[in-house]
Symmetry: C2
Subunit: 211 residues, 2 copies
DNA sequence: AGCCTTTCGCTACGGGTCGTAGCGTAAGGG
DNA sequence: CCCTTACGCTACGACCCGTAGCGAAAGGCT
């Protein structure tokens, strides 16, 4: 999953864009995010650190937000869902992974900022959805499927209801972790994760009973 | 609960600060948030609409973020927790209220932005906590107390555990709603709220069993 | 009333960032 | 080898920031 700059209509001729420059720019962006944070990140600074002209940045990304999304999106590749034998164990593992990701200064400062911008920028929202949100959501689908295979959850009956429950679980888990880490600004430790997973596993039965 | 500008050491003499200017500035800030969003909001624009000199803004707020927090904080006053007779009904009501608040363009664009900034600005985080987060958290405490009075939840045993559960519920509810509304960008309708409240009420028993 | 202190509106300013234009050069593809 | 595009560089106007300095206004205090 390499993040791609702004989609270009694939010219078949002329000098190709430098892939090294792509990676250098994204790397420099993450660097600046760590050192200065999102609000103090400037395109000129990123270009300088990447050893690239500022105009090169603008040839690939329309603005700061799209650049930052691409720079941070690759970090979400490390989210995985190993089979730990039980739904609760799977949940706790992925929650701790996600929390660790949110502890990194580059994601902490960038994620909320781009989400805030996306409320007024539809293309940006779509970019976030495709490169970050969709990737996380797959983990929920995989986790449910495994739990069903183990018999921890009943098999699908109403597909609409299943989708709604998947959506709910995703928003609850991701939202709770983000809120705990960034709004409450308190640690996502094992004690908290235990409580969260207990809440989810205990509540899933009640939700399934809704139909 | 009127939001106060930057705390001043209460001079007992000299010309008092204009309270009308305070309100005009905060009102103008909300106006600009609605029309232009957080990222395009400028201090000069706010000052112009408020009929006030730009220097007057800087005498009261150190920067854009603190101003926006104060301008948005008053909107959270409308959150209330009427007693609807059951824990689930109370939850659903407050969730729908919170969702309606997040639907307003001024809160939608401002809330995530200032939270993002607060990850690198401790005074700002404290301001958000005091004027917004604490106000929401009180609703959780009230809701739990009522549910205990009704006998829907067991009486307190371990106070530490109770605090931890309150924290968890707060992060889960607020986080889930924010995530649904701003990240997933899907409507917080009654169907979704029903599922969320069912999850919470059903899961609370399991959490209480943890001790 | 009259003084004192602080706020107010106004103007101006240096410093910084944005996003773009224009140029000559570099690097592949047919 | 030519054509097309990317690249680095410089320069630019536009905008916003946050502050300084000024004279005027508005209350408190005696």
């Amino acid at each position: 999953m390499c993040s791609r700059p702004t989609p270009r209509p694939a010219p078949r001729t002329g000098r190709p864009r430098s892939a090294e420059a792509d990676e250098a720019i994204l790397e420099a962006t993450r660097e600046v995010l760590v050192e200065l944070g999102w609000s103090k990140l400037t395109m000129g600074d990123v270009a300088g650190r990447a050893g690239v002209a500022k105009t090169t940045l603008y040839r690939r990304w329309a603005n700061k937000n799209e650049l930052v999304v691409d720079a941070v999106a690759v970090l979400f590749d490390e989210l995985e869902l190993p089979d730990l034998g039980s739904l609760q164990a799977d949940i706790e593992h992925v929650v701790l992974q996600f929390a660790a990701l949110l502890e990194r200064p580059e994601t902490k400062t960038a994620l909320m900022a781009v989400v805030a911008e996306s409320t007024r920028d539809v293309p940006l929202r779509e970019r976030i959805r495709a490169s970050i949100v969709e990737r996380q959501k797959r983990l929920v689908l995989d986790g449910r499927r495994r739990a069903q295979e183990r018999g921890e959850l009943p098999a699908d009956r109403d597909p609409v209801s299943v989708d709604a429950t998947d959506d709910l679980i995703f928003d609850v888990v991701a939202g709770a972790v983000v809120h705990r880490a960034l709004v409450s600004a308190e640690p996502v430790d094992t004690a908290w994760v235990n409580r969260l997973s207990a809440l989810l596993v205990g509540g899933l039965g009640a939700v399934a009973a809704l139909g």
